[in-house]
Amino acid sequence: GWAPEPDQLFRTPAGWSDAGRLAPSETLSLTFALRQRNVQRLARLVQQVSSPDSAKYGQFLSLADVQALVAPSPLTLGTVQKWLDRHGVWDCRAVSTMDFLQCQLPAGTAERLLPGAQFHRYRNGTLSSVRSPSPYTLSEELQEHVDFVGGLHRFPAERKVVSRAWASGRMWPRRATRST
């Protein structure tokens, strides 16, 4: 197989714990990022519509225009569709720009589709996420057609608003001198 994300770290964030492997019949949702066309052209276009000294400044594209520009090739769409069909994955929906495909499928099917993946449930208080601690691979035939598969490794990122006065017991954060 081929690993689209060999460098993607898997780490269980603080607060999350492994609650066991999913039963093969449990449904999960995977997001396939399909290879787009004309990315270089898109980059040039962005430069033109965003640069005040360009004649095209402010001439933005509609969603339909973006779709026409970046939508995957018929070959990409067909290859991915055939591969999913072969594994009995039918419940899929594409976004308007056709470059993301979101599919619902049983965990057992997902593990056959993405060799190496093993889906576990992780819990953090009332929150629950399904992720694979082991890397996934894809069929070689998809190397030119899929960028990555979402829903395997990355946990929902937490952002933290700092509350320095409370956290440090200081009321005057800016006046404090740095310890040497």
Binding site: T27, V39, Q59, F148, K160, V161, S163, R164
Partner: protein
């Protein structure tokens, strides 16, 4: 004199008059929430009752895309909505709430999918979210970057918080320390917002850089041409730079601009909470200001600003702009080791990797962006 940052303090510092509010019906702005962070309309009403006197504003969010849970409000969500609607006052506001309909969905990816699926979207998006760049695969980073290009091509302004760990720090496999950039802050196709604080904490005074303000250089994305001159200047004139082994001086440098990020008042679960800080606070403030500028542009029959950075760097690169208060004092955090002693980059005249071009002087920024 003030007892913490409120809408009145921000509007005073950035020179917004009571008349600087949205007036055009097609103006719009949004913030995104992940990981089951919810806001409550009642908190927003109370916040505006307590702090929203003196300028016309709205007391409710117009549209929630996604599911709003029934639980307690999150401090982050409350902060985003309350301050986005304080600078972007009287502008139609949406909240994207993508906790992930299914356990296996990635909330941030879900938000990107929504952008690719909706033909009518707010023109300005404030997102206070980030991950360590080195924790994400290159395939993912590059693809998400293309998603930001798609948004830019459509005229959307997407603003990300620069992060709250200064330059960051990680230990390489050889045991050396290097700075740790944050993504999407490091994407060349978003506008990244850093943080400042008042030099005199209880006075509306000049600003210094906030030591938590995220900033630095991407290890993945090369420096875009729009910022090359500004960054080159910083690297050549900065009086004190960290050793070059700590960062990639040819990468996309961030943040692009900044705003106050210290000592905010937020109402959450009906309780006014003081001392809330972070670039999560400065980002919706700047997003609201950009929405106000869009409002004026749309009213004049002109297109929205779209992706801001090329125009921003061009404006500031001219050298005589008064659209930003240049923040020139203070340094941010980095590795606690004998070489850099916890200090990353320092603010300097013109652009710097702690506060970008500085903080907005709204009337001048508006004039420049209308001109």
């Amino acid at each position: 004199f003030h007892l913490g940052v409120t809408p009145a303090v921000i509007r005073q510092r950035y020179n917004l008059t009571d008349g600087d509010v949205g007036t055009f019906q097609n103006s719009s702005q949004a913030c995104a929430q992940f990981l089951e962070q919810y806001f409550h309309q009642a908190d927003l009403s109370e916040f505006m009752h307590l702090f929203g006197g003196g300028f016309p504003h709205r007391c409710s969010v117009d549209r929630v895309v996604g599911r709003q849970g029934q639980g307690k409000a999150g401090l982050e969500a409350s902060l985003d909505v309350e301050y986005l609607m304080s600078t972007g006052a009287n502008i139609s506001t949406w909240v994207f709430s993508t906790a992930g309909r299914h356990e296996s969905q990635e909330p941030f990816l879900q938000w990107l999918l929504l952008l690719s699926n909706m033909s009518a979207l707010p023109w300005v998006h404030s997102v206070s979210y980030g991950d360590d760049e080195d924790s994400l695969s290159r395939a993912y980073l590059e693809r998400v970057n293309v998603e930001f290009m798609k948004a830019a091509a459509r005229g959307l302004s997407i603003l990300f918080a620069s992060g709250d760990l200064g330059a960051g720090c990680r230990t390489t496999s050889e045991g050396k320390h290097v700075f740790r950039p944050s993504f999407p802050a490091s994407s060349p196709y978003v506008t990244t917002v850093g943080g400042t604080s008042f030099r005199d904490p209880f006075l509306v005074s000049a600003e210094v850089s906030d030591y938590i303000s995220g900033g630095g250089f991407s290890n993945v994305f090369p420096m875009p041409s729009y910022q090359a001159a500004a960054v080159k200047r910083y690297l050549s004139v900065a009086p004190r730079l960290p050793p070059s082994t700590y960062y990639n001086s040819t990468g996309r440098a961030y943040p692009d601009l900044a705003a106050l990020s210290d000592n905010y008042w937020v109402v959450t679960n009906r309780i006014p909470v003081p001392w809330v800080s972070g670039t999560s606070a400065s980002t919706p403030v700047v997003a609201g200001l950009i929405a106000l500028i869009n409002d004026q542009r749309l009213r004049r029959g002109r297109p929205p600003l779209g992706f801001l950075n090329p125009a921003l760097y061009q404006l500031q690169g001219q050298g005589n702009s008064t659209a930003f208060y240049d923040v020139t004092q203070g340094c941010h955090l980095s590795c606690l080791d004998a070489t850099v002693e916890g200090q990353g980059f320092c603010a300097a005249p013109s652009w710097d990797p702690v506060t970008g071009w500085g903080t907005p002087n709204f009337p001048e920024l508006l004039r420049a962006m209308l001109g």
